[in-house]
């Protein structure tokens, strides 16, 4: 079966003039689904800009939000506010407490860690154990691998190698995104998968991380956001007096 490649992280405002170019380039490179983070109280224009750009490029738009809470309580409050509005919720974990809470919470889809500060990459065995019981996947942006150089790139690669090994051991899904904000940072899906070879992810896993895993997350959440959804496996088929 043919894979649908997904880039769940385009780092550009949907109202920016370059956003349309990024979307078109992504479509030309072979992606079928894209997401750009929207603010929690996004305006109608921002949503329309995303939809329009994707419609022109024949891509499937995904509503995504990036949350950066400072405490676990703030995380819970923010998720409660946005979960029903967005198809993908990503948490940028700046503290260990937030990372642990995000891994436990079944409403969280993606766990992101700062690329440049390796002390803030909290994806260890404890975190993996919590997230394998939840639904959160580890998100890896490829942009730092392209732009970094020298010791910072070496340190980043070594962190990624450790984290992917832990994720594989605990069967935590991995999502690979471009994280691109410029046209020159976009790569085709197989190029992104090839870069995952640098931190020890085999081609099969890497291709799944760009296609099946993100597509599964979006499908699961769209099903839940459907008004006819009751519980996993239960859908409202018909309602009325004759039922």
């Amino acid at each position: 079966m043919k894979r649908t490649f997904c880039d769940l992280h385009l780092r550009a405002k949907t109202t920016d003039p370059t956003f349309k170019q990024l979307v078109c380039k992504n479509a030309a490179l072979g992606f079928g689904m894209i997401a750009a983070p929207l603010p929690p109280d996004f305006l109608r224009e921002e949503h329309d800009a995303l939809k329009m750009a994707c419609q022109e490029a024949e891509l499937d738009p995904v509503l995504r939000i990036d949350l950066r809470p400072r405490t676990p309580d703030e995380l819970i409050q923010q998720i409660r506010r946005v979960r029903r509005k967005f198809e993908v919720v990503s948490i940028i974990c700046d503290t260990k407490e937030v990372a642990r809470q995000a891994a436990k919470d079944r409403r969280v889809d993606l766990l992101s860690f700062p690329a440049l500060d390796y002390r803030k990459r909290f994806f260890d065995r404890a975190e993996a154990e919590l997230s394998c019981n939840g639904l959160a996947a580890l998100e890896i942006d490829m942009k730092p691998l392209i732009v970094l150089d020298g010791p910072s790139k070496i340190r980043f690669l070594s962190s990624l190698r450790r984290e992917t090994a832990i994720a594989k051991e605990f069967k935590v899904p991995i999502v690979i995104s471009s994280g691109a904000s410029e046209l020159m940072l976009l790569r085709n899906p197989r190029g992104l998968a090839a870069m995952a070879f640098l931190f020890g992810l085999e081609e099969r896993y890497a291709l799944d991380a760009i296609s099946n895993v993100p597509a599964e997350i979006v499908k699961r959440n769209r099903l839940k956001l459907d008004p006819k959804f009751v519980a996993p496996g239960i859908r409202l088929i018909r309602e009325g007096k004759d039922c």
């Binding site: 020159m184 976009l186 790569r187 190029g191 992104l192 090839a194 870069m195 640098l198």
Partner: protein
């Protein structure tokens, strides 16, 4: 003696201005050596088969065992003499005939 298996790759180049084939090869070698060192580069047996600056297509031949090394290095290329450049592998094939049969389909 065991036969060495090879792969032919068609690369699509994106750059502003001009880029001749020696500059292209030097960019590629630099990226491979930077990521995998001289030992890794020696495994690739990289050679340029065809270079079409007008079509922005290059065809290279590599050892099958080093295909991942080449793919990762190609994706890591970002600049040449401070000018941005992007390389994407568009087709990979075991024979040149198979490769050239698939390039026009992509160019449409």
């Amino acid at each position: 003696m065991k036969r060495v298996k090879r792969r032919y790759l068609a690369l699509q180049l994106e750059f502003d201005g001009s880029l001749n084939e020696s500059e292209f090869m030097s960019t590629l070698w630099t990226s491979i050596v930077k990521l995998f060192g001289e030992y890794g580069a020696s495994l690739t047996n990289l050679s340029l088969i065809d270079y079409r600056e007008d079509l922005r297509i290059a065809i290279i031949r590599v050892n099958l065992v080093a295909l991942d090394i080449i793919r990762a290095s190609v994706a890591s290329v970002t600049s040449l003499a401070n000018k941005p450049i992007v390389l994407n592998v568009v087709v990979a094939s075991g024979t040149l005939k198979g490769l050239s049969g698939r390039i026009p389909k992509i160019k449409k």
